[in-house]
């Protein structure tokens, strides 16, 4: 790295990966190495967890031992609280990769007479840092000093000395603090910890809560400035940094089958482009889910992995219904190739949905993702928000080369071509299914409204669902 540095350019700021995927993407590599990062937010917004995960990932993934200095929870409480997230602190302690130093301060216990320093704190930290060879430290929350001691002048001088002391030792620190009124922290400690500031937020809107993260400041580095939703689940913290500023994702000419041979034929003979985004619009009962199911089945039969996100039906119900048209989903579920993510749209806000789906995509690493129907999310946000969300979703899939199929339910009387989601410009291939009356028979007509970068059929084909599968006839039989 150093050898490539030109004489006039400063070496890039060294970073310590947090191990929390989204944060490392937003910060373009992690937190400033050897410096403190301030994490602030209101009570219950996830500060302690972020600090803890930073240490646990550091210990398990980067072999950097970490010291958790807790002013609020005891060692035993911390161990219990994070075990639900799959973190085994006792195991890490035994391997000398982790330690907790619990600091108890009670103002009522202590009388202050004359001048003092916080050398006791320094000695305690130095002792553990040396014992485990700590490269990372979390101070949760250092502002408790202001509640436990009276002499604010001494506390401030000692905090300044503490952060300098940690920097001299090259220790990467995460310092948590409660948000103040109009300031980042209640006691203004951003004055001492100013290299990187991360703000966490937990907002409730329309009875739906969403956690959000924002990097407010990162001295000497560029970073994503948006608010990013995050969720806390059994894997720890997931931040969803899906707003790609540029459109430079890898593009392939590889094609993948739609799972329906005649449809492949309509799409120039080979199906969809891998990594493209496909929208299937239509009114209720026109076979959108069937086309989606055929697509994931084709994918799984090739030995690839697919994720099916359903907002309307349970996996059992989808499996049963698709069985009736000869599509066997069960086999691929059992083989571990087909994954379902079924949630009610009302379960959470848009961003939570996005975060959950993104989390599954990152963990399962599928080649194909179906969201059925994407219009279910409409009830959970304004149109502008839905569009923003889908843009992020599409970007995430494109970045990972995932082929994304969205279905869109058109309401009665609505024009399916004027799709209400407003995403048609974002998709590469757009199929429409509508009810037609031909020769006094109601049939489903399928046609391709657009398909970027490929010669495609202009025909309206008749979509027929039978126990033998999906057929596309040129004329009504």
């Amino acid at each position: 790295m150093r050898s490539t540095t030109t004489p006039h350019a400063l070496p890039p700021l060294p970073k310590a990966p947090s191990g929390i995927h989204g944060i490392d993407v937003i910060t373009e590599g992690g937190l400033p190495r050897g410096r403190p990062t301030l994490v602030c937010g209101n009570a219950g917004c996830g500060k302690t967890l972020l600090a803890m995960e930073f240490l646990v990932r550091g210990a398990t993934e980067y072999a950097e031992p970490g010291l958790f200095v807790s002013f609020e929870e005891t060692r035993e409480e911390l161990i219990t609280n994070v075990s639900a997230l799959g973190f085994d602190l006792i195991d890490l302690e035994e391997k000398n990769l982790f330690a907790v130093e619990y600091i108890f301060l009670d103002r009522n216990d202590i009388e202050e007479v004359g001048d003092y320093t916080l050398d006791g704190l320094f000695i305690r930290l130095a002792h553990v840092i040396e014992r485990i060879g700590a490269r990372r430290i979390a101070l949760d929350t250092i502002e408790a000093l202001f509640g436990g001691l009276q002499n604010e002048g001494i506390i401030r001088a000692e905090l300044r000395r503490l952060f300098r002391w940690l920097k001299e030792r090259g220790i990467t620190a995460v310092v948590t603090a409660e948000r103040g009124d109009g300031t980042f922290t209640r006691h203004g400690i951003e004055e001492y910890v100013a290299d990187c500031v991360i703000l966490l937020d937990h907002r409730v809107h329309d009875q739906i809560s969403t956690r959000r993260l924002r990097v407010v400041k990162y001295r000497g580095s560029t970073h994503g400035t948006n608010e990013y939703p995050f969720l806390i689940d059994t894997h720890g913290m997931t931040v969803v940094p899906i707003t790609n500023l540029d459109l430079n994702h890898h593009v392939t000419t590889e094609r993948i089958s739609s799972g329906v041979a005649p449809l492949d034929e309509m799409l120039g003979g080979d199906g969809y482009y891998r990594g493209s985004t496909i929208l299937i619009s239509g009114t209720a009962g026109t076979g959108k889910s069937s086309l989606a199911a055929a697509f994931v089945t084709g994918t799984c039969e090739r030995g690839e992995t697919a994720l099916y996100v359903s907002f309307e039906e349970s996996p059992a119900q989808i499996t049963r219904n698709m069985g009736s048209i000869g599509i066997n989903l069960h086999r691929n579920i059992k083989a571990g190739r087909l994954h379902f993510h079924t949630v009610r749209p009302t379960m959470g806000g848009l961003e939570l949905h996005l975060a959950m789906i993104a989390d599954r995509i990152i963990r399962i690493n599928p080649q194909v993702v179906v969201i059925d129907p994407v219009t279910a999310l409409m009830t959970q946000g304004f149109q502008g928000e839905v569009r923003a969300l889908l843009t992020r979703m599409i970007d995430l899939c494109k970045q990972r080369g995932v082929t994304l199929l969205l279905t869109s339910l058109t309401g009665p009387g609505q024009d399916p071509e004027g799709t209400d989601v407003g995403v048609s410009s974002l998709v590469d291939t757009w199929l429409l299914v509508r009810n037609l009356e031909i020769k006094q028979t109601r049939v489903r007509g399928l046609y391709i409204l657009k398909s970027r970068g490929m010669a495609h059929s202009n025909q309206v084909r008749v979509l027929q669902l039978s126990s033998d599968g999906i057929r596309l006839e040129e004329e009504v039989q």
Partner: protein, 97 residues
């Protein structure tokens, strides 16, 4: 010896935490000795713990500030931090009447 007849046999067990022989440490120890000789003559012990030598002892009594004086006996445990320069306030803090 029994200037306080109400508690004639009470022993004062005091522990002073310091970090090296700094002017502040020396001042605190001097002040403490003066107070003990004046008010607790013959019924006190002072244990000085230098955390530079035994850092592992800092967690035991939850020591943050230095110097810290800990009254181990009589119960309850009391803590006074600072150089103990205000004798009146030390007496209040230690509950010496």
């Amino acid at each position: 010896m029994s200037e306080q007849p109400s508690q004639p046999t009470e022993t004062w067990n005091l522990r002073l935490y310091i970090a090296g022989q700094t002017p502040r440490s020396i001042k605190a120890l001097t002040n403490l000795r003066t107070i003990c000789q004046t008010y607790l003559e013959g019924r006190y012990t002072i244990e000085v713990i230098d955390l530079i030598e035994t850092p592992q002892l800092a967690s035991r009594d939850q020591i943050l500030a230095l110097p810290t004086l800990v009254r181990k006996l009589p119960p309850p445990i009391r803590k006074i931090i600072g150089d103990l320069s205000d004798i009146e306030r030390v007496l209040v803090g230690l509950e010496i009447h």
